[in-house]
Subunit: 142 residues, 2 copies
DNA sequence: CTTGCTCCTCTAGTCGCTAGAGAAAGTAGG
DNA sequence: CCTACTTTCTCTAGCGACTAGAGGAGCAAG
């Protein structure tokens, strides 16, 4: 009978690297995979789904702890999804903050490189901007 | 005579925490500060400028290695600022990429929370979106 | 049977700090 | 001068989310 696929195959299919999958198992994000006689991990389609879920969540910038909660929710579907909603919402708020912060940063950097006359460092706008916080329009975080 | 101010004072003035300043010295981003008889670090106005430069650069998202290069440039002003310009430019490119990636992410998250009917997890749009990468419009990195 | 690939465990390193322990130095008040 | 308090010192270890490497074993094809 065929029990499942090897870790390398799951890695290919999910796009998550082999050591990362093992790491996820180690920190309890994945259940311990059943092993072959020789001691190798085997995975089924449920595992692939779970790993894909994790990957997608990571790509979207969720932290491991948040993903743990999300996975717990997924495992017990007969519950209100208010928690998942609130996690996503607060994450969205963070993303919005990050975007506005980065946009301000972008403007500042553009000002810097536009002002550079490509001469000596002495008169370089880039260096100057970095040295003098006062003239900077960017005062965000991140 | 007065040699300079203490680390706590510099920390206040620069907005960089005390252990972080010591850390910067440790990794060679700051020169070893001269010490008092009792062995405490003392700083002058040049140091304050340098630390402020570092802080500003970090706020703008430059990495320590980039800041090292930038500081080296600043120390030898009689040189072309092409390098500083190129660092800033490539950093700007990264920031732009990040912004567009995060904007796509924002849209995806908005789709997720808007679709949530606040019912059971079974039918939760948020969980569903995360489980199924196929229906996701977001395929960026970060 | 041998070659070459995948897989195993384990430890240590990455980045940019941050936290804590325990001791010594400096400062203000009595 | 003594005490109490604050600041600073060094040192080690921890964070998150991996990544890299050593050294060894399993396994499939020729």
């Amino acid at each position: 009978m065929h029990h499942g696929v090897a870790i390398g195959r799951v890695s290919e299919m999910s796009g998550v690297k082999v050591p990362t999958i093992r790491y996820y198992e180690q920190i309890g994000l994945l259940p311990p995979a059943p092993r072959t006689e020789g001691g190798r991990r085997t995975y089924g389609s449920g595992d692939l789904e779970r790993i894909t879920f994790i990957r997608h969540s990571r790509e979207l910038g969720f932290e491991i702890d948040e993903i743990k909660t999300l996975l717990d929710l997924q495992d017990t579907p007969n519950r209100s999804c208010a928690e998942a909603d609130s996690i996503a919402r607060s994450h969205l708020a963070e993303v919005k903050k990050k975007i506005s912060s980065l946009t301000a940063l972008q403007n500042e950097l553009e000002r810097m490189v536009e002002g550079c006359a490509h001469g000596r460092v002495e008169t370089c706008r880039v260096i100057e901007s970095l040295a003098d916080h006062g003239q900077c329009r960017y005062h965000g975080e991140l």
